[in-house]
Structure formats: structure tokens, C-alpha cells
């Protein structure tokens, strides 16, 4: 009887440790960024500090400015939201969550014109960077980070 109890406890511990962990309420930061070269670059926005190195290495710009942003707390994994600037809008539609992250449908609009659409599985450990169109001497970037 006692041995059975010990065996059961051991198995329960193993199963519990192996069970997938559900995501709790997470906040997703979505930003519209203009990357450009400046003689005296502004400090990088705090939301982007954790990806400053890959941003500079990949795109070669010295300054990154947020022109539109949204911070959304996901509770059901089914929310949708907009990050907008004067001319651009990023519509994000969360379509569920898994152990790996959130499944998102992303649409980039220039005013009412759809420029780009993508589906992605956003991990909370891994930001998503999307290179958008050229804007003047700089580049529009779309960035999503689970905070």
C-alpha cells in the first residue's frame, strides 16, 4: 500500500513536470518604427533596448524612433488591436495561444491600403521584426515583443 503510494507520487510528479504550461496573461508591445541614420541619433526607445544590437546589425541605421505603438494585455489569446501612426496602421488579430506563443494575423495598412499581411506564431522569448517600405531616407519597421 505504502509502496503503491510512493510510486503514484513519483509518477504524478513526472507527469506534472512534463505537462505543457499554459501561458498566463502576457502583454504584447506592437510598434511602428522609423529607422534612419542621424548625425546625432536619439537614444533608442526603452521598448527596443533588448533588440538594439540585431536592429543595428540587420538594418544598419543609427536611430530608431517610435511613430506609433500599442500595448495589449492578452488574457484569452483572442484579442485584436491597432498600432497606428499618422499614415500607417498595424492591425493585430490574436487567434489563439499555445505553449510556443500566440498565433497572430498581422496586417499593415498605408491609410486604407493593405500593404502587407502575415501570420506568425509569436513567442514570448523571441521578438518579431518586419521590414516595411522605404519612407524617405529611412525604413519603416514593425516590431512585436511579448513583454
Amino acid at each position: 500500500m505504502s509502496r503503491s503510494l510512493a510510486l503514484f507520487t513519483t509518477l504524478a510528479a513526472l507527469i506534472t513536470s512534463a505537462a505543457p504550461k499554459a501561458l498566463g496573461a502576457e502583454t504584447v508591445w506592437s510598434g511602428l518604427i522609423i529607422a534612419e541614420n542621424a548625425e546625432q541619433p536619439q537614444p533608442i526607445p526603452p521598448e527596443l533596448t533588448r533588440i538594439e544590437r540585431p536592429l543595428k546589425q540587420l538594418f544598419g541605421y543609427s536611430q530608431f524612433q517610435v511613430i506609433g505603438q500599442s500595448r495589449k494585455t492578452l488574457r484569452t489569446g483572442q484579442e485584436d488591436w491597432l498600432a497606428t501612426s499618422k499614415f500607417f496602421a498595424l492591425h493585430v488579430d490574436a487567434q489563439g495561444e499555445s505553449e510556443a506563443g500566440y498565433v497572430l494575423n498581422l496586417k499593415l495598412y498605408k491609410e486604407k491600403e493593405l500593404l502587407l499581411e502575415s501570420d506568425a506564431k509569436l513567442s514570448k522569448r523571441s521578438p518579431l521584426i518586419i521590414k516595411g517600405p522605404q519612407v524617405g531616407g529611412g525604413q519603416l519597421l514593425l516590431i512585436l515583443i511579448v513583454q
Partner: protein, 172 residues
């Protein structure tokens, strides 16, 4: 000063001295009935001594007998049975063994099961782009590629050939 009951008991047992006895017998209202009762009590006493005297056990003998029986019973029990009676199953030693065995099983599980899953989970920790498309009418020359910068844990959707826009579009 003795009570009547004490004197009565002493009289039945012939414990009263001559003067006390004479005084007590003089105080009895029905001497004949008292004598009959004393005779009956003596007869009953004699009967009890005769019949029960041989079966009496002194206290020492009784406890010795109990001890001998217990020792004999425990001596003939198997060792495991005696242990069960004496100590609970969850001794410190057994707890240690159980804990060690559980850790060993858990370690084996971690090594053989979780380790094998690591390559898959590694990619799950990176954001995955499932698909991407641009409007071919708006951007007919656009192309799309995707890659992961694993050192920085960043996933990039890289577009080329999207329609360029004037600097005014950088407004907040």
C-alpha cells in the same frame, strides 16, 4: 468508636473481645436471627475457601504468566511481522531510499525524454512566420523572405521592392 456495621462484621468473624462481644450480643434485638445469620456466613466462607482456594493466582504469578506468554508469542513471529508491529513503514531510511529512487527516475526521464525534445522546443521558443503576402497590384515587384537571428532570438520578415513613400509618411 466503632459503628454498628463494624461491630457486626467483627462479631461475624469472631473478632470481638470478651467484653465487647458480651455488650454487642446484649444490644441485639433478635439474638437467634443474628446467630443464624452468623452461622450461614461462616458456612458460606468455608465453602468459598474450599472451592476457590486452588484456582487463585498470586499477583506475581499472574504477571509472570502474562510476560512469558508475550515473549513466547513474539519469539515465534517472523522478523518482518515483528517489524511491522514495532515500527511504521516510513522510517527515515525508507524515505531517503524513496527520495533517491524518485530522483533517479526523474533524472532518467529528463535525460531521455526532455533531452530528445529539446531541438523541437528550441525552435518553438523562436517566433515563427507561418506565411506572408503583399498585394501584387500595389507592389508588383515585391519579394518576401524570412530568417531567424538565433543568437539574438529574433525572427525577421524581410521585404524587398515595396512601394517607397515620401518622408512625410514618417510622421507620428
Amino acid at each position: 468508636m466503632k459503628t454498628f456495621e463494624e461491630k457486626w462484621t467483627a462479631w461475624l468473624d469472631d473478632q470481638l473481645s470478651g467484653r465487647e462481644r458480651a455488650e454487642f450480643e446484649a444490644s441485639l434485638l433478635d439474638r437467634a436471627a443474628a446467630e443464624a445469620e452468623r452461622a450461614a456466613a461462616k458456612k458460606l466462607g468455608a465453602l468459598l475457601r474450599r472451592e476457590l482456594g486452588t484456582h487463585d493466582l498470586a499477583n506475581e504469578e499472574f504477571f509472570s504468566h502474562q510476560l512469558r506468554e508475550r515473549i513466547a508469542r513474539e519469539t515465534h513471529l517472523p522478523i518482518r511481522e515483528r517489524d511491522v508491529e514495532v515500527s511504521p513503514w516510513w522510517t527515515v531510511g525508507r524515505l531517503l531510499w524513496t527520495g533517491t529512487a524518485s530522483l533517479a527516475v526523474f533524472s532518467v526521464f529528463m535525460i531521455f525524454v526532455v533531452h530528445d525534445r529539446n531541438p523541437v522546443e528550441q525552435s518553438q521558443y523562436l517566433t515563427q512566420i507561418l506565411n506572408a503576402r503583399v498585394d501584387p497590384v500595389v507592389s508588383p515587384n515585391a519579394s518576401i523572405s524570412m530568417f531567424e537571428a538565433k543568437d539574438d532570438r529574433v525572427t525577421v520578415l524581410w521585404t524587398e521592392g515595396l512601394q517607397s513613400l515620401p518622408a512625410d509618411y514618417a510622421a507620428k
